[in-house]
Symmetry: C2
């Protein structure tokens, strides 16, 4: 092995094709191909010779040529809404690992508004065997992409965006999550709920709003009088700082809810900081709940009551559903799977403070 390969490129010219390689070993391309693919009926001596040269030169057959010849690409395209929110990244990491374990490599792209078409086109041109979407997307854009995939006969799966037309989906029952959380809070005496970053209008039967509404109705409470949202006062960011600002705005109001329900743990932790900055104690003065059960939620003071998405199980299911679609005629009806969440009660929720 040369000491500095950069200075002696001539010593071992790069072998670019089986033709190059076969010439180098002194055999026919066919023979080389057979050894590489482990086909029977070769002299052990020939096999050894090729294997040794393979190891020495590090020659790798061109995957593109293999795929042209009909070998499956074993690639899955993954469209991410973003690579910044911890739960989304954790889903990606889990899915990537599961796919890798089953021999698939992942082509990962971020699907920013307007680029969806190009991303899916790129996946199709790479002849991926399936496409996964992780996140919540612009409805019409993703539905158009899915129609395109269906027309091409390429299986798809959407993780986290329930209610898309003709789409195979795996998504969390956020309604059930909120029912569980609301019941916990209602039992603690809470009747006035501040919503942090949670959209007002119910969008589907598995949305948070649906659950909040249902839980209130079941106790004979009215949504409009029981909830308050100040989301419109700040630029939407869904991060710590947004939560902190929202908390500050609530404290500037005359009427203060007895509990905050946050869209995610980041907003909840930001709100916690905002409340503590104002000298309030959680949960003595006000209760607080997050969503996602990120690791950090058990490290704050107080620790955070939150919802666990059960990501490992969700993604395992998703991988199964996805791979089951391969090599099988497409289903007539889309497959819709809903995952149950788990309420995690910690220190940040307590009895409602009597006004």
């Amino acid at each position: 092995m040369p000491k500095n390969p950069r200075l002696k490129p001539a010593a071992s010219p790069v072998l670019r094709s089986t033709a190059d390689f076969a010439r180098h070993v002194g055999l026919a391309r066919t023979t080389v191909s057979r050894v590489i693919n482990g086909q029977p009926g070769l002299k052990q001596k020939t096999i050894d010779r090729v294997q040794r040269a393979l190891a020495e030169t590090g020659f790798t057959p061109n995957a593109h040529a293999l795929h042209l010849k009909g070998k499956r690409t074993a690639m899955v395209g993954i469209c991410m809404e973003d690579l910044l929110t911890p739960p989304a990244v954790r889903k990606l990491a889990t899915l990537q690992r599961l796919l890798r374990d089953r021999g698939f490599s992942s082509l990962i792209e971020v699907f920013t508004p307007g680029t969806g078409r190009d991303v899916v086109r790129h996946f199709l041109s790479m002849r991926v065997e399936a496409v996964v979407f992780i996140g919540h997307f612009h409805r019409e854009e993703i539905e158009a992409r899915i129609a395109e995939l269906i027309a091409h006969g390429t299986p798809h799966l959407v993780i986290d965006h329930y209610g898309l037309k003709n789409a195979n989906t795996v998504s969390l029952d956020r309604s059930a999550a909120m029912v569980a959380l609301m019941n916990h809070l209602l039992d603690l005496g809470h009747r006035s709920f501040g919503l942090l970053g949670i959209a007002r209008a119910p969008a589907s039967r598995y949305d948070r709003m649906t659950g909040i509404n249902a839980a209130l109705r079941a106790r004979g409470l009215d949504f409009t009088t029981a909830t308050l949202s100040l989301d419109h006062l700040h630029e939407r960011r869904n991060d710590f700082d947004y939560g902190r600002k929202l908390a500050a705005s609530f404290l500037a109001q005359p009427h203060r809810p007895t509990v905050f329900l946050a869209l995610n743990d980041a907003i909840a932790i930001g709100a916690l900081r905002g409340l503590q900055d104002a000298g309030l104690k959680v949960p003595r003065d006000i209760s607080l709940a997050g969503f996602n059960n990120q690791d950090i939620s058990s490290m704050t003071s107080p620790t955070l009551t939150t919802i666990d998405q059960n990501i490992e199980a969700t993604i395992a299911t998703a991988a199964d559903i996805l791979l089951a679609q391969l090599d099988v005629p497409p289903r007539a009806k889309p497959l819709v799977h809903v995952v149950a969440p788990a309420l995690v009660v910690r220190e940040s929720t307590g009895p409602a403070r009597v006004a």
Copy 2:
């Protein structure tokens, strides 16, 4: 357009090749190819006809065939140490975005111990134009991979692992980071330092230990008496919980340092929780510093003194270095770039408590 494409596959058979497509439009493959590649000298009417059919059918040329014909793959392989630590993911997200902006797609794989060979082989078989490693790897394994890439004439870059033989690297000057932090703490009167998750032996001139040593020596202090590490008492995890456990172990010791230096923000925040659980106030009773300046570090109570890696600038530099290697003869000497960190002083560090 059919209402439900799944039920009428016969209505629009999937077009798999330019031959299929050309037949569908009633033209020669050559002509279709020329339209797709925007070559001159075609009747506008022909161009329109092809474009329309392209839009209607959603036909996408097979990328593998294109690459076989010599078209560049415009792919970059990215090897990640893991997809779980926030700074690593942020680097990945930033790099992926920059590469995409310049027309490259990213093939992302997690490089777990022992899989390095397969990962790099896969990248080579896909004929990626360059390979990036993000993280800190098993030294011999990554050096072998880099030698392989060099032998294949494929450019590479390692982000975050300084001191690899013959490797192009971009890495943070962690030594300078620790010097800045130590000087800040020494000025506050600290003389006894608890190290949380920070390796004891200096590994290179840009390592944390090098900086800690240098800062102590400059004040005439002895490393052995000035620092204490209890890392060995718990299973290494580098997460919140590891920090919490380490803090508890320190509190069980007879002699308590006046400040904790943590490997990262997660360990620092876990330690903060551990200290608070024991009824201690930070920084009144003990000071605490993290590393990475994650968003969360400005939301804790107290907010965390930490080090900013300046990830955006680092990755921008990395992308420039990487892409500059393309279409250019390989450099004789490896390129080694070191990035300067920034100390971020917040509430968690204060004057040393007098014993």
